[in-house]
């Protein structure tokens, strides 16, 4: 009898990113994974860009000109937004992990996300 289907496996991590029909906790979980991956990718890019310093001031200045590109600016905005979302969601997880507000985790999430939106709107206005 083939009963191997439907069992846990590391390859099923993709389900973390599909919180459809799930409660708000799953959306918060997915948001934290997506923002974490984004920030990790940014860290990699950041190190690549810093590596340009080793190639001399000319190479770095060439990149600085690129930062005026609207797409790069949008990327910078996304990094800052991801950091705010990930950080505030993380504070919620730290609190609930040690018993603070466990039964109010949804309200905590909504509250922290409201703060995140205000912060994002603030730096969006400053950036553009």
């Amino acid at each position: 009898m083939d009963i191997t289907r439907n069992q846990p496996s590391a390859g099923r991590f993709w389900s973390w990113f599909i919180p459809i029909r799930r409660d708000i906790g799953s959306w918060a979980f997915a948001l934290n994974r997506v923002t974490a991956l984004g920030l990790t990718f940014y860290l990699f890019l950041h190190l690549v860009i810093l590596g340009k310093l080793a190639q001399g001031p000319g190479a770095y200045d060439e990149f600085l000109v690129l930062t005026e590109n609207p797409l790069i600016k949008l990327g910078e905005w996304a990094v800052a937004a991801a950091a705010v979302l990930h950080g505030l969601n993380g504070i919620r997880i730290i609190l609930t992990s040690f018993g603070v507000g466990v039964t109010r985790q949804k309200q905590l999430f909504y509250g922290f996300m409201a703060i995140a939106i205000v912060v994002i709107l603030f730096f969006t206005a400053r950036m553009y």
Binding site: R5, S9, G25, S26, F98, G99, T103
Partner: protein, 242 residues
């Protein structure tokens, strides 16, 4: 007059050696019937080969857990009205993270062994039960009275947990909740079982277990409480008070 809906019951099928697929059954239902009633009717009048688990029909045995339109439900207490609408589809699938034995029936052996490993109690003395707004203060002599544990071992939390989906070794919500119910002070051997890679620290605070639990066990809250117990026990050991 009884309200009647026309729905399509879409049933997950997977027999020995078969590729999984869905069979559709058009049927008339009363929206105030339960999902399990619809599955049973299909079995009784359309296809006797459909395999599914059920027993008590009143949310005590925990046998009829399935995914209904993508969400874990105890089908004997899930009204059709609450999960679909007239003219729509009602999809039933086996619980996730359990091997499928046949169609909607899954093998829960691994899960039950984990419950056994943490010494899950099926009954507990009344003063130890978490009863909301008890009618009076419990006295020591009330310990002679036993109460059924809230957890009915239906496995819905195991199916809903995204962390559980990636590793079968993780203890999972219900066993961790059962460990919290036992308490590390009362059962010190639990410390090494829950304070490890696949124990209490594997939980990623998704809270789906609490969302889908039909028996108000609130596994997520219990897991967080168990973490406090673990930290307390480790500190006591550190200072030689264990």
């Amino acid at each position: 007059m009884t309200e009647t809906w026309n729905i399509t019951l879409r049933v997950y099928r997977q027999k020995d050696g078969e590729a999984p697929h869905f069979d559709n059954f058009g049927m008339e239902v009363n929206p105030d019937e339960y999902v399990l009633d619809a599955v049973e009717r299909v079995w009784a009048f359309h296809d006797r080969s459909i395999c599914f688990r059920h027993a008590c029909h009143h949310s005590t045995c925990g046998a009829c857990g399935m995914r209904v339109n993508g969400a874990e439900k105890l089908t004997c207490i899930t009204l059709i009205r609450d999960v679909t609408h007239n003219g729509a589809t009602l999809k039933v699938e086996p619980l996730r993270n359990f091997p499928v034995v046949s169609d909607l029936a899954v093998d829960m052996g691994h899960f039950y062994r984990k419950m056994e490993r943490v010494g899950a109690r099926s009954v507990l003395p009344v003063p130890e039960a978490e009863i909301e707004n008890p009618s009076r203060e419990w006295k020591p002599e009330d310990a002679q009275y036993l109460r059924l544990s809230d957890c009915i071992e239906c496995g819905l939390c195991i199916s809903a947990c995204p962390v559980m989906a990636t590793t079968a070794e993780y203890l999972g919500p219900a066993p961790l909740a059962a460990a919290q119910d036992n308490g590390i002070r009362r059962k010190p051997a639990l410390l090494s079982i829950v304070d490890c890679e696949d124990g209490v620290w594997r939980c990623h605070s998704v809270f789906e277990c609490t969302t889908v639990c039909p028996s108000f066990v609130d596994p997520a809250r219990r897991i967080m409480d168990l973490r406090k117990q673990v930290v307390g026990a480790r500190f006591r050991k550190l200072f030689g008070k264990a």
